[in-house]
């Protein structure tokens, strides 16, 4: 169903972090950007669709006003808004937002770090564009920061702090930007597997809380009103977002899941875990009849590798890319 294509070499290896791969497709310029985090560096590769040109860039998470320290990055993700694309980098010290090619930093938000080290780690993790003009980023305290992003320029402001989670945020996902109308358009997940479902707006509205079973939800997606959640137990669960009804449960992987992705136009789901496997599934969801089906389509095994990132390269799921801990390449697969 899929076959392996030529890998993209990286300047250094991928770190073991949840959702450690982000992809942005720039159709007008026939380019695709990839980002992979290595410790305190974001590796960016820009590839032309004809496969002939590659260019690399590295961003360090150095805070603008602090002389010495650099800090470890937890996640780097593209946020595609209708008016602009941003690259958001979340680290131990704060959140940086760049133009999508990584050329200019347009915004910096410092996390409140206490004077003396506390018993709990402080960091930002979980990044998503929401609706037309918001970017949401999670924090280790459980807070979710909502940033209001103007259509151009650097006048980005922190508009709201959502405080429902008690444990560190792991991942955030949204659907329905632009013209679509959705009841729920944001889901946030935490270390205890608890999930909150929201509707965005000037004031974000909490629609539902789905309790976790004390098992970390490391990656979450939202599609057609259904929450897709990947867990440390290797399970994938499908919940109806607004009601919390469990539709399906898959014993998908033998180890901790690190990444889920969805190809919204075709309903393909990608799951990747520490067990070296990437799996492709097909979802059919009919919200009107409340029927949800998930079928397994394909496996890929990346030998001797714990996978940390897996993303579709396009909305149909024609191709996907994979990163692994200690691996200095992005492996690509294309439908046969």
């Amino acid at each position: 169903m899929f076959h392996k294509e030529k890998s993209i070499q990286l300047k250094n290896s991928a770190s073991a972090l949840y959702n450690n791969l982000s992809v942005l497709r720039i159709a007008p310029r026939r380019l695709t950007y990839f980002t992979v985090v290595h410790a305190n560096v974001v590796n960016m590769v820009s590839t032309s669709w004809d496969g002939l040109n590659y260019s690399h860039r590295q961003l360090q998470s150095k805070e603008p006003n602090v002389a010495t320290s650099t800090s470890l990055i937890m996640q780097a993700a593209f946020c595609a808004l209708p008016s602009r694309d941003l690259l958001v980098v979340s680290s131990q010290k704060g959140i940086q937002m760049y133009e999508s090619d990584g050329s200019i930093m347009v915004y910096w938000h410092a996390l409140d770090t206490p004077e003396a080290p506390t018993a709990h780690a402080v960091f930002a993790r979980g990044i998503s564009a929401v609706s037309d003009n918001y970017v949401c980023v999670g924090v280790s305290s459980g807070a979710v920061l909502v940033f209001d992003v103007p259509s151009k320029g650097s006048n980005i402001t922190l508009s709201e702090v959502l405080e429902e989670h008690k444990e560190a945020i792991t991942d955030i996902a949204s659907e329905c930007s632009g013209s679509q109308e959705c009841l729920a358009n944001l889901v946030t997940a935490d270390d205890g597997g608890n999930m909150c479902v929201w509707k965005s707006g000037e004031e974000f509205q909490l629609l539902n809380k789905i309790p976790g079973l004390d098992m970390t939800c490391s990656s979450v997606k939202l599609w057609k009103g259904t929450v897709l959640a990947g867990y440390g137990t290797g399970q994938i669960r499908l919940y109806e977002a607004v009601t919390g009804i469990l539709h399906a449960e898959v014993n998908a992987h033998a180890r901790w899941i690190y990444s889920l992705d969805i190809a919204p136009f075709s309903g393909l789901l990608l799951s990747a875990a520490e067990d070296s496997f990437v799996r492709v599934w097909h979802l059919s969801i009919t919200p009107e009849t409340n029927s949800v089906e998930i079928a397994h389509l394909h496996n890929e095994c990346v030998t001797d590798t714990q996978i940390c990132g897996a993303k579709f390269c396009d909305g149909d799921g024609y191709a996907f890319a994979v990163t692994g801990y200690d691996l200095s390449e992005i492996i690509r697969y294309v439908q046969s």
Binding site: S15, H38, A67, Q235, A248
Partner: protein, 386 residues
Amino acid sequence: MSVRTLPLVFINLGGEMLYILDQRLRALNTPEDQSETGVWSERDRKRVLNDVVGTMFGKSFMDELLKPQQLYSHRTMKTVLTRLAHSSIMRLNPASMDRLYELMIMAFKYQVLLSPRPRDLLLVSYNHLDAARAFVRDTPAVLNQVDETHRKIIEVYSRLSDGDFQLLRQTLLTFLQDVHTRVSVFLKNQIQNPSGRFVLMTSGPVPAGVDVPGLIRTFDPRGREVGRSEFPPGGTYSGSVGEGSFELSGDRVLRLGQNLYQAERPEETQTSRTPGAQLDRTNPLAKEELNLLARLMGCMKAGSVPAAAPRFRISLFPSDPEEEEEGGAPAEQAAIFQVINIQAVQDEEAASALARIAGQFTDEEAELENPSGSKGDDLLAMMDDL
């Protein structure tokens, strides 16, 4: 990232050090080895192990490690572990210490990477603690220290969630990233490939709490199961073999962290580097790192060995080509190798000097960044002399 890594790093790296020292010192006990430093008797070996365990599990040292703090560089770890190794009557030359550190790091990386669940890293640590206990079972005072440390570890870590443990594991994996030193005992046992990467099986028992992959279940709105189907998982998995004991004693079930070197011949602890990250990056140490280093060095007891007692120089890996380059024929190694000769008294001076100098950095942070800056370089040069 995680602020709870240091105690586990030291217990596991130190634990590996004990295994390697034990094996190498037994190797030096063979009748053929009549070098000038004398044969290492059973008594000498036990004494070295007792001294190292005693220092490693010293109360103030462990209390310092247990404070929530970031994990620092390989340089800091190596400096403290060198000091640990030298808390006994034994002296290691720099080449031996480098090899020893590489072995410890690769063993630790293997244990972290292959822990079935992040929480199982505790079981790995407990395996090391169990072994340390066995090494010092004839010395009640030191045995007590190990037990005390074990109790503190249980107290601190039993509060962490699975998510906290995964963060801890991710922090360790970042620390251990890009190190692919080949170790002969790992290659021989086929847990490491010739490329230096570890073998990850896609078969065997799943971790405790995880279901064997292959099942899809669907439910109706009332929560009743309405459908079930299977898919091929690609690997051959079997059910979990159950969870090991997280108590002070008991069957740990997990074998990671047990002594890999017991049955091995001395040549098996050879390492060869693959091109890749050097473990000693020459970045200037951050101010916080120097502070930690000063505190840790200050906390390590000078030891019960009197200053005038003879120090025995040994080369841990005489068949290592790099060591032979330095010293020529193995029989004359003791006289020719560059030997680190530190008296206990000098160590304390060095530690307090470090602390003083670290204190001076409050106003001079900018200088640390400058590669040609003076104070940072002086301090690093001093540590190289240790």
